[in-house]
Symmetry: C2
Subunit: 211 residues, 2 copies
DNA sequence: TTCAATTCCAACGCTTTAGTTGGACATCGT
DNA sequence: ACGATGTCCAACTAAAGCGTTGGAATTGAA
């Protein structure tokens, strides 16, 4: 194992070991590996090698592989919630609201992949009670917006929330299908903005109040 | 390894080896294992054990693990295409058309899982040229229906096809999310028909001609 | 009956992986 | 200075997985 540059510098400076930085780098490397290869395809040795840190630190800091995956996913979900809290407009602009979720996934494609791997694993979701409570609050907001005429009330609010999330995430969930159907892999920025416009428009068709 | 009952019977009867049946059982077992655990989580030994047939037959008949996965996925895609060809209504009933795709996934939940695993694997899709051609034909039909006023032409036809597929498949793609958002796991048949109705309605909102 | 081809399988080799261990090195309070 | 504590890592163990092999059983044909 090659000692990492940053670590060498710290030792040269005679500073205390920056364990928080070590943890952060391991978590970052784990996120990249899990995103790319999934829980089963990822090896602890590769994570450690990517971080430039010994494998044993992974076990010492995060327990086993399963708990490391949970830690990574939980952190990514918090980042999404934080970003949406800061950027998402109100439900009166439901198209842009959904477009904002689309944007987050476009800039952080790892989250959808982590969520899909979690869903494929069957069994209970990571941190399920807290996440359920969070979604229930969102559903309650949608229900209120429907009562106030801000959103169309044709669809059950929970199902509307679920479908809008899908609308924003679907492009990133099955890239091979999007490539085969549209003929583009979505890395083109023109195509990406067309996809976004399509998501915004579809969200409006689904949820905007109808006369 | 325990010799299988069916195999014993054949030997007792003194019949020739039923190699087609052996292949079929291996493919079936492989489909179940890949669906449940994904390419990386599945072991060749488990597939063989589930089929009650020796592992070596897998390699002899299907090559390696990758090619076996491809064979399984290709067959499942053919089953979907066959079923839709027989059951799906015309595009003038776009809601039911999408509901029909939903029904197929509800009865064959393995296909979505196989497709998601394929998508997560990155790299080219299995049998990509033929599948691309198939989707392009579907897109062409949608485009014609738009020109004829049978479908709304607000959305690009390829993107409309892609979104409708997502609408039908999303419930099965992220069951943990559907559980957290709606509070039901979807095994309840009442809830399932509500989800179907919601998909049908959403498809109409997205694609039915507007005045 | 005997022979070549085919189907089957138990057991093996080799690699990879999850998780552990024992000890070296750094830090800090006393 | 020095021991207690915490940080780090090379090397290890035990198990599991992929793909192979050598040979046994079965068949149909000569």
């Amino acid at each position: 194992m090659i000692p990492t540059e940053a670590l060498e510098i710290q030792i040269e400076w005679g500073m205390a070991w920056d364990t928080q930085e070590t943890r952060r780098r391991l978590r970052q490397a784990a996120c990249e590996e899990f995103t790319a290869h999934g829980p089963d395809g990822t090896t602890m040795a590769r994570i450690a090698a990517r971080a430039g840190i010994n494998k044993e630190r992974l076990y010492n800091y995060f327990g086993d592989k399963r708990r490391l995956f949970e830690a990574v996913l939980t952190e990514e979900l918090e980042k999404l919630a934080t970003s949406l809290g800061a950027n998402a407009p109100g439900l009166e602009h439901i198209g842009e609201y959904t477009g904002c979720i689309f944007d987050y996934h476009a800039e952080n494609p790892q989250l959808v992949r982590l969520l899909l791997w979690e869903g494929l694993s069957q069994g209970p979701a990571v941190n399920e009670p807290a996440r359920t409570a969070h979604y229930q609050r969102t559903v309650a907001k949608f229900a209120e917006a429907q009562r106030n005429g801000i959103l169309d009330d044709d669809l059950d609010p929970a199902k509307l929330v679920f479908l809008l999330i899908g609308l924003a995430a679907w492009w990133f969930a099955v890239p091979q299908l999007s490539r085969m159907v549209t003929g583009s892999d979505g890395s083109n920025s023109k195509e990406r903005s067309r996809r976004r416009a399509c998501v915004v428009s579809a969200a409006q068709h689904l949820a905007s109040p109808r006369p």
